[in-house]
């Protein structure tokens, strides 16, 4: 009964939040209360929240620590960025039908792998399925061989490092260190128009709501139970006959897909994607968001992503040199002091309060966990 009440309350809070995100914010923007800049910033945070959802699915629920999620984010962002780039080609400095950076690099024709990205549906498909595919391959190579835990974390980190190195190269024809930027229009709409940014924000908010609903349905299903079981006792689940590797591959691919979606939505609103966003550090930052927000709770992941990114925007403007120290300190502090993150804070406080305020008399003496047999037989 209490559970039902609590469920109703969360339902109410959630609908209110969705209402705020989807209807009220764009309305305020339309009226002029919220400026373009802030709407854009909110859209960026919401896109990153989708990324955090994916991370929470694999780390919070399944116990897979991937230190390379930013690579999937980058793949999605680059796929969409390539489409945007082509959509604006011909309007660059040189007026050539290919992106400007190719002109600098003396590439005269559009490379073959760029061709499909002229079409929006194909680009969108690539942004979603590309990361999922890469994640499937990595998962297939590792989970089936029972590479997990720390080893998996290290491997994905090496992957992020390698991807960062690769994307920095000019000969990949992806813009090198400068990445993809200077987008002009999407599907015929000029990106600079306020109407377009409102539309993009709406799509992002809907994407977040959709992803959240999907994740909630998933973790509430029987599959969610299996995933949690993998996190808590993988070996036992294996002995019970569950195809643990397949579950892990699936969830890793799904998280990759969410990251790709996040990247695609991010790049349209922020207008730039560079290799610096797909390296080791950005990947770890995603973990910080989830850890701070509260791993294993979907709301926590969203809260963490939005909260930390907002803090980052505020702090890096004022104390840029202190941000890494704050970030590192946050990490150490959160993991040691608040293992359940922001979302778990009320319960942690409750526990603390109970321990402090409840009369100690009710506490029972500790039972010895091991009873020596010779003692019991003497009795």
């Amino acid at each position: 009964m209490t559970a039902g009440k609590a469920g109703k309350r969360t339902w109410f809070a959630e609908s209110l939040l969705v209402l705020l995100l989807i209807i009220i914010l764009p309305l305020l923007h339309g009226v002029g209360v919220v400026s373009d800049y802030y709407l854009n910033l909110c859209g960026k945070y919401l896109a990153l929240a989708i990324l955090a959802l994916g991370m929470d699915l694999i780390w919070g629920y399944t116990g897979i620590l991937s230190l390379g999620q930013a690579v999937f984010f980058g793949l999605g962002a680059y796929a969409m960025g390539m489409h945007l780039m082509l959509g604006s080609s011909g309007r660059g400095v040189y007026g050539e039908p290919i992106p400007d950076f190719m002109v600098w690099n003396r590439v005269l024709e559009l490379p073959l792998f760029w061709q499909p990205f002229q079409y929006f549906p194909l680009a969108a498909l690539a942004a979603l399925s590309g990361p999922a595919l890469v994640a499937t391959v990595i998962g297939w190579l590792t989970f089936r061989r029972r590479v997990s835990g720390t080893y998996f974390a290290i491997l994905t980190q090496a992957m992020a490092y390698a991807a960062w190195l690769l994307f920095n190269r000019n000969e990949l024809n992806l813009g090198g260190t400068n990445g993809l930027t200077d987008f002009k229009r999407l599907l015929g709409f000029p990106l600079s128009a306020p109407g377009t940014s409102r539309g993009l924000y709406l799509v992002t908010a809907l994407g977040l709501v959709g992803s959240f609903s999907l994740c909630r349905w998933l973790v509430g299903s029987k599959m969610g139970l299996v995933l949690t079981a993998i996190r808590d006792q993988e070996r036992r689940l294996q002995f019970l006959g569950y195809p643990v590797a397949s579950y892990k591959i699936f969830i890793f691919a799904l998280a990759g897909m969410l990251s790709g979606l996040a990247g695609a939505l991010y790049v349209t609103q922020v207008g730039i994607i560079t290799p610096s966003q797909i390296g080791v550090l950005p990947s770890l930052e995603i973990v910080v968001w989830v850890a701070t927000g509260g791993r294993g709770t979907l709301v926590g992941a969203i809260l963490g992503a939005i909260g930390i990114n907002a803090a980052r925007s505020l702090l890096t403007a004022r104390y840029p040199e202190w941000w890494p120290i704050i970030l590192g300190g946050l990490f150490v502090g959160v993991v040691i002091l608040f293992p359940d993150g922001l979302a778990g804070l009320p319960r942690q406080l409750q526990r603390l309060g109970r321990r402090l305020w409840l009369p100690r008399m009710t506490a029972k003496p500790l039972q010895p966990s091991v009873v020596r047999p010779e003692l019991t037989s003497q009795q």
Partner: protein
């Protein structure tokens, strides 16, 4: 004939007292050729004649002629010096009656004829063969050797007879053989080619390649082809040895970093993401010690490194103990969380050092680390890198002794094999943890101190090596030291051997990517590395 006339002229002049203004100046026999030297079609002959006189001032004259500072004044030769005054050939400044530098209006420059330029050049080089500076002698021999004029062989041979310096002698011999390559006699050419084929001289390669096109004699031609392929084969071997040494050098750094990482991982199941920052702290210790020496004992600056080595070991080891006691022990049994926390610490250490000490600094290696050991001709292995390799070997031996020959090592291995039972036997497992963690950190610090010899000291230096050393741990497994050694060697070598194989500017990047793929493929075969610990528990590594 001309000579005689000139001498006559000269004696006449001196009798008449021309040049009386400069009575103090010496008149050398070379002055007799002044007129001839200034006449275009007699210049060459005059030069040859003057050469025969063997006057010491001949060299100055040649230089002045070449540089256009030689003047003819009343049948005498004067050199306009840098000081803005004329000197005679003996080097005396010419003064007028009042003791001021004498600047005559009627001195005319002696131009060097276009056709005689190379002659003067060559004469000067031959003279350099007897210079007092061995470096000048060497340079002259090199130059003459590359002239492709067999006429110089006699001069070089003469110089060789008088030469005492071994390295100059070697250059002379090479120059003679080089000149013999263009000798008209095919026998002589053949012998020279054989010589170069035998010593595998890189310096002769270009010349041989050039000459082989025009060689008439078939036997010599074939010998040349053989010599070329022999030299090229040697060059390939030499670069291969170079790559292997580079790989060895990288492997030793990786080894020093990964040893501690692997033992800590085997013992506690945690990966210390701040391990790269331990390396960085070691480098900064070296830097700070150097600054202290520069401030307080600049005379003994070279010895800073001797102080920095043990200090980096101690300081970084202390940081390691602090980390374990202060933070990691709260995360016991939560490997993924400790991984993240250590990463956070690493980030703070990086930025902290950047803010307090500064980035992009570097250490001046002590003078005794300059230069290197010429392992095979043409390949110099820097002493600093050799030192790093030696230090790494010593570290492995020390760790081996510690783990397998000491009481503490017995305890470490016991905890590694079965923590609970070890505890039951009275081993203070947590103290062992702290000790081992500190040891790993100290080793990384030592590596950082050594690394400061060959690279810059900056807060992100750990980044370069950390991913690779993680790969070493993954690849080597945590069961045995030998696993870490082999994995370091394998990674270091394949990195440095893949780079030239791929070629191009991006070789390092593609080598890294290739290595990662190789590691992943390797894990398909052995998911727990080369030497997994022998345990019955199925959750051994993957906890």
């Amino acid at each position: 004939m001309v000579k005689r006339t000139l001498i006559l002229l000269w004696s006449l002049c001196s009798l008449l007292g021309i040049g009386g203004v400069v009575g103090a100046a010496t008149i050398t026999p070379l002055d007799a050729y002044a007129q001839a030297l200034a006449t275009a079609d007699q210049q060459r002959q005059a030069l040859e004649h003057m050469r025969a006189l063997a006057e010491p001032s001949y060299k100055d004259l040649l230089i002045a002629l070449k540089e256009g500072t030689l003047y003819l004044w009343r049948d005498r030769l004067l050199i306009f010096g840098d000081a803005g005054a004329f000197t005679d050939l003996a080097g005396q400044t010419i003064l007028d009656a009042s003791g001021q530098p004498f600047l005559p209006d009627d001195a005319t420059p002696v131009p060097l004829e276009e056709g005689n330029m190379s002659l003067v050049q060559r004469l000067l080089e031959v003279m350099n063969l007897t210079d007092s500076d061995p470096r000048a002698r060497k340079a002259a021999a090199l130059k003459l050797g590359s002239l492709r004029d067999a006429a110089h062989i006699t001069v070089l041979k003469q110089a060789l007879r008088q030469e005492g310096n071994a390295s100059v002698r070697a250059v002379l011999v090479e120059a003679i053989y080089k000149l013999q390559l263009v000798d008209p006699d095919p026998q002589v050419r053949h012998r020279a080619v054989e010589h170069f084929a035998n010593i595998r001289a890189e310096s002769a390669l270009a010349l041989l390649k050039n000459l082989v096109e025009h060689e008439q004699d078939n036997v010599v031609k074939q010998a040349m082809h053989r010599a070329i392929s022999a030299i090229e084969g040697y060059l390939q071997l030499r670069s291969l040895v170079g790559y292997v040494f580079n790989g060895l050098s990288l492997a030793s750094i990786l080894l020093m970093m990964s040893l501690g990482l692997a033992i800590t991982f085997g013992l506690m199941g945690i990966i210390n993401m701040a391990h790269g920052e331990m390396l960085m702290l070691g480098s900064y210790t070296a830097y700070v010690v150097q600054e202290c020496f520069a401030a307080f004992a600049p005379a003994q600056l070279d010895y800073f490194f001797l102080a920095a080595l043990p200090l980096s070991l101690l300081i970084v080891g202390a940081v390691g103990i602090g980390l374990e006691r202060g933070i990691l022990r709260f995360l016991y049994g939560r490997p993924l969380e400790s991984l993240l926390v250590t990463w956070g610490i690493g980030l703070m250490l990086q930025q902290g050092v950047r803010l307090s000490i500064g980035d992009q600094t570097s250490v001046n290696p002590p003078t005794w680390f300059r230069g290197g050991w010429e392992a095979i001709p043409g390949l110099v292995l820097p002493y600093s890198r050799l030192f790093i390799v030696a230090l790494s070997v010593l570290s492995v031996l020390a760790v081996y002794w510690l783990l397998y020959r000491s009481a503490a090592g017995l305890k470490i291995r016991a905890v590694m094999q079965n923590r609970d039972i070890a505890c039951c036997m009275g081993i203070a497992a947590r103290r062992i943890d702290a000790f081992t963690f500190a040891m790993g950190a100290a080793l990384a610090g030592l590596a950082g101190c050594a690394l400061s010899l060959i690279g810059t000291v900056d807060p992100e230096v750990g980044k370069t090596y950390i991913v690779d050393s993680f790969m070493v741990v993954v690849l080597g497994g945590v069961g045995k030291i030998i696993g870490t050694v082999l994995a370091s060697l394998g990674l270091g070598m394949s990195n440095k051997l893949l780079e030239p194989a791929i070629g191009g500017t991006a070789a390092a990047v593609y080598a890294k990517v290739g290595i990662l793929l190789l590691v992943i493929i390797f894990l398909q075969v052995r998911p727990t590395g080369l030497f997994p610990p022998k345990e019955r528990a199925t959750d051994a590594i993957t906890r």
